[in-house]
Subunit: 453 residues, 3 copies
């Protein structure tokens, strides 16, 4: 651009993917950009049109703010430039390949190499890709930290002009935390995944013993082929229903705790807090298992075993039983409706859908429809059991079948929820959530009350 | 922070969830934050690191802009501060528990208590949660209103720095409207939901009489168990198809209206406007019913009744009929393809997907693919009826079966659409949409024409 | 608004949908808005409350920045205003109905009409709808271009205040490109769609000959009805599996190319680049075909033909074969798990979900889980074939069945991937991706290394 001398200038050290993407974005946002490179002549073909390339020393003279888009291993090239960089704002963009790769954060290391400069850690959660394609929702937020307030203000100003919103996270000691951000691998999914795997394994072995080994021991029948579909189709719904109730149990427990304490101004115990924070993940895993259960159920009539049995059965002549027809159809219908609501809950968990909901709409779906889903799925399971709960032949080796075990938790959750929505309990809970405290008239809770209950 | 004295300062009254979240966000955006509290000493442990807590009077001295994060019931504590608050900008963040809880809006009440201050209503559509997690898409917009332009400008500046975009909605009299926002419960879904429930109920009773009561009266057979699956699986597709045609009917009607009027510069009647605005919801409900129809259909072979019938049927020997095979398979195949497109339409209705589409892509999917879906589903239903349209035994008690009734509307929509895409009609419509007006050469429509037709 | 004289003023020419929406948004963002109209008196009822309407000449006097929300055909009304518009910034918002509608870009035409003004092209990718409903994700970015840096800076400032982020794309010669943006129709989907249609057609005819025509020629049996479901249910899984492997093949090829070259600093060939850019589309189309395959499979037991066959079969008495049961159930189970993962991959391709993932999480899902999906689906197909690979009766007219043909590509991809994850190859690849170059010790690759490998 001809008249770039009028523009505010920033400097970018490094002409790799990240440096080039950042430089392009800066240019597009109306900044003048000067790249610093060891080999300015050979780099000039790489850099985006409209930017300048100079040697590091010369480039650093041209701007107050310098983005360091170089890997940490090469930071030592900055040591001889320490004088020129005095008073400059250096933005450390670097990331590591794994946690604890180095004794100190990259930004702290950079500060130690160039003590006269004002190092700000930031923008490292962005990829070159998202810089090119523009900020969107979750990665619109840029986290920064550093010692100097002015330096951070300067970086925040650039971020806003690039279309990001910058959040000051504090002093440079937070840098390590920011550098660990892009290395996270589903931290909130770990506990729910462990629960899902644990439950699946436990029920798999329980049912393996009850169904396949039992048949082998008592009747010497090899029905091991049932592992692939029949057993899977028992484990999936069981785990799904338990996980769904685990998703609604903490909310119910929290209500009872508030009721017992008579206030909402005391923190929940840590385990309950952690549990409440992974409800969404529990629910989505439950949906995943329900989805598999639906597929496993729908392929039943295609199975060789089932088709073989059907051929055998044709010779028997039985009487049509209306009660059985009612039970069977109701069982299927409840399952379908439950799954339909399940999917609806899943869809409304999508970030872009949540964002279009008002607070009241979100709570209506996740609480009212969520509990209705749990109710439908629990009723579906009870109808599956039907009168077999009373028949002693159900209890092979004195163990109850899987579906009975998995009914315990949802039944408890539904009972507790039922208690909570009785008018008198509900009234007390609502008052507590609005800030009322039991036996707290002498205290003045005025300004400690949240606006949104 | 040591050097917070250089920062622009804002004040937050209230140390509840909302106040603390807002304070933290303000700190992170680079503001100095002073909390005002009745009991500054006991509150100091709660507030985010880096902020100050003072008494209300002292806190109000330190900043020009004061966020009031206190519930309306406690606003009276501001009365004695009226003098200190003179000329200050007070941002009212409060919400109510239900509509019309108080005679006047909270912000208007606040203004009446502190007449010397400049009250701005705003930020109340945000939750403490979204303040902590950052603005995203739908809740990136913050609505404000107030009498003073300067006060609103000051609030807009803060909002932008926090990463939101503030929209001035006008004078303080709009405050009540803003306070009702978070209390909305699916306003655009009400009409479509009522239509869906009404149609479902009507067809349920119609089919109950035709199928179950008819069988009971004429043949004394109790087939009431069919309600759960067979009847549900008739109601679902019928309602789905009708809702899908209701989703495309208003567009067709609007085109004919423009064609009849010969201009696009006259407003549509109100009922048509309202109908056009809920097309997305109509379509999504139709997809929901189609989804249930698919599940109800797929479980057919698992049903006790169907397996029982299959056993009975084996003794009959019939001849294989290729026409029946063709008809049956085409019917299923059209249904599958229709449902596939249905799901595609649903996915492209997700807010985050819509946002990635250009205007032309969106209209291609929702119009071209939408009408194709309607065509496939209608053909699927016609094939289901097949030659039974002509057989008199179909018309029990002289009533047509449900699938015939539900074919009327989609057939009409498809016929009208067919008319619209004939070259001569299409040309006229396109010209009208580009701003041409029939018999309007004396008028100069230049600058009243929209850019995007 | 009473005190609008203190506000910064902008002018909007044109009172159509686009002009009115833009004016409303500008008002809400705190600007004073003056509309320019030919018939200011008759337009005054249309414009948003708080704005002024004047004649074009008068309106243009009141502001430095003028948005031209008028269709190109009417630009000639600006010619007589050329004097008043000297030095003003004119923002051209216009779009065309199709590509190459006019010899030069609308913005260039505007510049030629009013040579004294500074024309900036921009905001044309927004619809009136998105202006009213606020920027969201993908359309938060506004592209501008123009000759004057100051003019563009002024437009960028307005865009930021409206909640958009403006990207300067360069000189006015880029305007044509910006005007083609809203006319795009799925440019990245074209190649994948063509591949999908080509593969579907090829396999359809191949299977038509092998199955239906073969039966007709050799046994004079008319099984043409199978086209609708049986044949469709062969084409769908075949195309799905091939497209899924086409989605993972370019990544594997790229790795081998880097391994062979010993560096990552050389560009991939163009065809590979283009291929890598449409992987997401390939994967989503593959998911679509897999979805149809699942539906086609699940309706099998409902088909007339299948029910007829079942009736026939009942008279034969065969022995239950455990191996067949194992094979069949494993085949179904692998298919279900593969489809479950497939759906998971699809969900994590939604823009709003991608945005919540860290870089490591995204690569874990798309690479690890993606290859696992391919493995499961390939195993599913091998189990389907089972021992028929060896039986000569499988090869009608010496041609292999479709599922064998479609196994070639996924097997190759999986084998190559297996090679890549062997420790010694993996180590070299990782070093190359971190910037290491084979035989390049004399060169100093320091600042040319991207941060994110």
């Amino acid at each position: 651009m001809d008249n770039s001398e009028e523009l505010e200038r920033v400097c970018v050290f490094g002409t790799g993917d990240m440096g080039r993407s950042l430089g392009l974005r800066l240019l597009q946002a109306g900044y003048g950009v000067v790249f610093g490179s060891r080999r300015p002549h050979s780099s000039s073909s790489l850099i985006p049109h409209g930017a300048q390339v100079l040697g590091h020393a010369a480039a650093s003279q041209s701007a107050h703010l310098i983005f360091i888009a170089v890997q940490r291993e090469h930071y030592d090239f900055l040591v001889p430039l320490a004088n020129q960089l005095k008073g400059k704002v250096l933005v450390d963009l670097s990331n590591n390949l794994r946690k604890n790769q180095y004794p100190e954060a990259n930004a702290e290391y950079l500060q130690s190499l160039v003590p006269g400069a004002e190092v700000v850690k930031g923008f490292n959660t962005l990829s070159a890709w998202s810089l090119q394609n523009g900020p969107s929702d979750a990665n619109r937020q840029v986290y920064i930290c550093g010692e100097s307030v002015e330096a951070k203000q300067a970086v925040i100003a650039v971020a806003i002009k690039l279309g990001f919103s910058a959040l000051d996270q504090g002093f440079l000691s937070v840098a390590r935390e920011l550098e660990d951000f892009p290395l996270q691998l589903f931290p909130q999914w770990r506990l729910p995944l462990r629960i899902a795997i644990g439950l699946s394994a436990a029920f798999f072995f329980y049912l393996l013993i009850r169904d396949i080994i039992y048949a082998y021991v008592t009747q010497s029948k090899d029905i091991s082929f049932r592992i692939m579909v029949s057993l899977a189709n028992k484990v999936c719904p069981i785990v799904s229903l338990i996980m769904l109730s685990l998703c609604y149990l903490p909310g119910v427990l929290a209500s009872f705790l508030q009721l017992y304490r008579g206030t909402k101004y005391r923190r929940f115990p840590d385990w309950l807090d952690r549990w409440m924070l992974c409800r969404k993940q529990l629910g989505l895993l439950a949906l995943g298992f329900a989805f598999l259960h639906v597929l496993y159920t729908l392929i039943i009539p295609i199975r060789y075993y089932v088709r073989f049995k059907a051929t055998e059965r044709t010779n028997r002549t039985t009487q049509f039983d209306t009660t059985t027809a009612w039970r069977g159809d109701s069982y299927l219908s409840l399952g379908i409706l439950g799954f339909g609501l399940y999917v609806l809950l899943g869809i409304t968990s999508l970030p872009s859908v949540i964002n279009t909901l008002s607070w009241r709409e979100f709570s209506f779906i996740q609480s009212k429809l969520g509990h209705l889903t749990l109710l439908l799925c629990t009723a579906h399971t009870y109808l599956y059991g039907w009168n077999r709960f009373l028949s002693s032949s159900t209890y092979k080796w004195y163990t109850p079948p899987g579906y009975m075990l998995c009914l315990v938790l949802p039944s408890v959750v539904l009972l507790l929820k039922l208690l909570l929505i009785t008018p008198c309990v509900d009234r007390t809970i609502t008052r507590i959530r609005q800030g009322w405290e039991r036996g707290a008239d002498q205290r003045n809770p005025k300004d400690s009350q949240p606006l949104i209950p």
